[in-house]
Amino acid sequence: MTLSIWGRWALRTVMALGLLFIYLPLLLILVNSFNGDRTFAWPPHDFTTQWWSAAWRNGGARDALWTSVRAGLGATAIALVLGTMVAFAVQRFKFFGRDTVSLLIVLPIALPGIVTGIALDSAWRSVIAPLGIGKGLFSVIVGHATFCVVTVYNNVLARLRRSGVSFEEASADLGASPTQTFRYITFPLLRSALLAGGLLAFALSFDEIIVTTFTAGPGIQTLPIWIFNNLFRPNQAPVVNVVAAVLIVVSVLPVWLAQRLAGPAAGASRT
């Protein structure tokens, strides 16, 4: 398609404005985390790293970061195992209610977080707590896993759909047992899809706030919740900026990696 010069420039401008609108505020946070002025006067007059060292020394923020990492890793681990298993079941086998299962797996990502949160909260209180398992980090992990499964499921499903069964048949034909086929063929071909799905799952869990609010036990504070609680305390504001900047980097990195993995590697998976 060819556009007139005028049309091309109009589209470029709109795109630039759109991207600016999304990323300028994020950039502002990064800049302000080095802003020497306590009230964030603009433009910044002097550069300082004192907020960064203050954040580093802030025990609450550090604990929250550690909690977030543990919650993210836990949810990602559950998502990897369950998501892969469901993807295999749906793609490789025919069974009653297959399409329904597929829908039910994907649905949590579309459900409002507040609904998932309330539902998990009441389920935990009325069913699981009486069994002796109180709310804590584990309940956060389970809550996050409900929607993290989707990213793994989608990635693995797409890969399975594209590569078909012919590689596995070829492997069996050459004398490989099912275990060997999984180890040498199926798993290596899935590896980049698993990594991509896992990284996305981690990113989703890492910045989750609504479901976390409803599922966290007493004393469990993830990084986003810590930010939220400290946002309106004036003397904490500079540190919040630093933590937010860290959060941006930590969330962008896995998404960027996941995209790179899903792109070229996926294309080369089929000869």
Partner: protein, 337 residues
């Protein structure tokens, strides 16, 4: 007689309401180059998959070298397959692909590398071992797939339309090479194809598949010269079928008869008719002639003297066709006799 390499008995396979294979009994001798020829959907690939073990038959048995393997998994059968899309492992190099079968059978690293190199040599791909399959052409991938199967020294090699993705020139070259390799290694080849030229030029025997059944098994010559059914006559080569009143007028008998186009000549006397179409095809010209006896015949003539200029004006001309009596094949008669 020696134990057949492959023995299929009462083999049937249904997919839901569809009967893909409707009762196959077949023996394939050790060391034979055997082709399964048929249109798509005739069940030939399903039969191959049941021999390899990818599909379980609904009924019947598969025996390899006298041993019933019907219920065995693919990895417990002494057969290897060359797949239509080659199914080369994209994350492994060419040499790793070739030695895969040896690796999973726990052959020592040194020996399997040596045997894989040897197998690559035999398909004239020495020096390509380090490449990825994606960096190779279709013909080269085909050979890698062949080497990957042959390196395991199976008793039987199954080939599922392995030349289908190649262009014509390469295909003809690979036909010759495959036949040579088969003669060298001396194992049984079961070759699935829908290309009748391929089946006729390469095979010791051909089975022609029609709607899940074998319509005829025989040497290429038997199948071509004495087709058992109208389907075989039509599918293997072009055939002029003569039936009904036309048969009585032209042969003096009732029945279904077949005359191959190249056995008919345009002559000064014979069955009269009108040329309705002239098709120039390089080495030959095809004439479509409507005989007065009420049947349409295709005649193929070598272009020894004729040129296109002379052919153009022939449409609508009255001609006479003649053929030798022994070239009129009564369909199914060779079975009854």
């Amino acid at each position: 007689m020696r134990t057949p390499a492959i023995h299929l008995a009462g083999l049937r396979k249904t997919f839901g309401p569809v009967e893909a294979v409707a009762g196959i009994d077949l023996e394939i001798a050790d060391g034979e180059f055997f082709s399964m020829l048929g249109p798509s959907g005739s069940g030939k690939t399903t039969v191959l998959r049941m021999i390899a073990g990818f599909d379980l038959p609904t009924a019947g048995t598969v025996s390899l070298n006298g041993r019933d393997v019907t219920q065995l998994a693919p990895y417990d059968r002494d057969v290897n397959t060359v797949f239509q899309d080659y199914a080369l492992f994209p994350h492994l190099s060419v040499i790793e692909n070739v030695e895969y079968g040896l690796k999973v059978r726990k052959v020592a690293r040194k020996e399997r590398r040596a045997r894989a190199e040897e197998a690559l040599d035999s398909v004239r791909l020495n020096g390509f071992g380090a490449r990825r399959p994606s960096a190779m052409s279709g013909g080269q991938r085909q050979r890698v797939a062949l080497a990957r199967a042959l390196v395991n020294r199976p008793r039987v090699l199954l080939l599922d339309e392995p030349l289908g993705a190649l262009d014509l020139k390469l295909r003809e070259q690979m036909q010759v090479e495959l036949k040579q390799i088969q003669r060298d290694v001396g194992i049984t080849f079961v070759f699935v194809t829908h290309d009748q030229d391929e089946a006729l030029t390469m095979s010791d025997r051909v089975a022609v598949f029609d709607a899940g059944r074998i319509a005829q098994v025989g040497t290429p010559e038997e199948v071509y010269e004495h087709p058992a059914t109208p389907f075989v006559a039509g599918f293997v080569g072009t055939s002029n079928l003569i039936t009904g009143p036309a048969a009585r007028r032209l042969t003096g008998r009732d029945g279904t008869f077949s005359v191959r186009p190249e056995k008919i000549t345009i002559a000064d006397e014979g069955a009269p008719g009108t040329i309705s179409e002239v098709i120039y095809a390089g080495p030959v010209t095809r004439f479509v002639v409507d005989l007065d006896a009420g049947v349409r015949m295709v005649v193929v003539e070598q272009n020894r003297r004729t040129g296109t200029a002379a052919l153009a004006g022939l449409r609508g001309n009255r001609v006479q066709l003649t053929w030798l009596r022994e070239h009129v094949i009564e369909i199914g008669a060779n079975r009854a006799a």
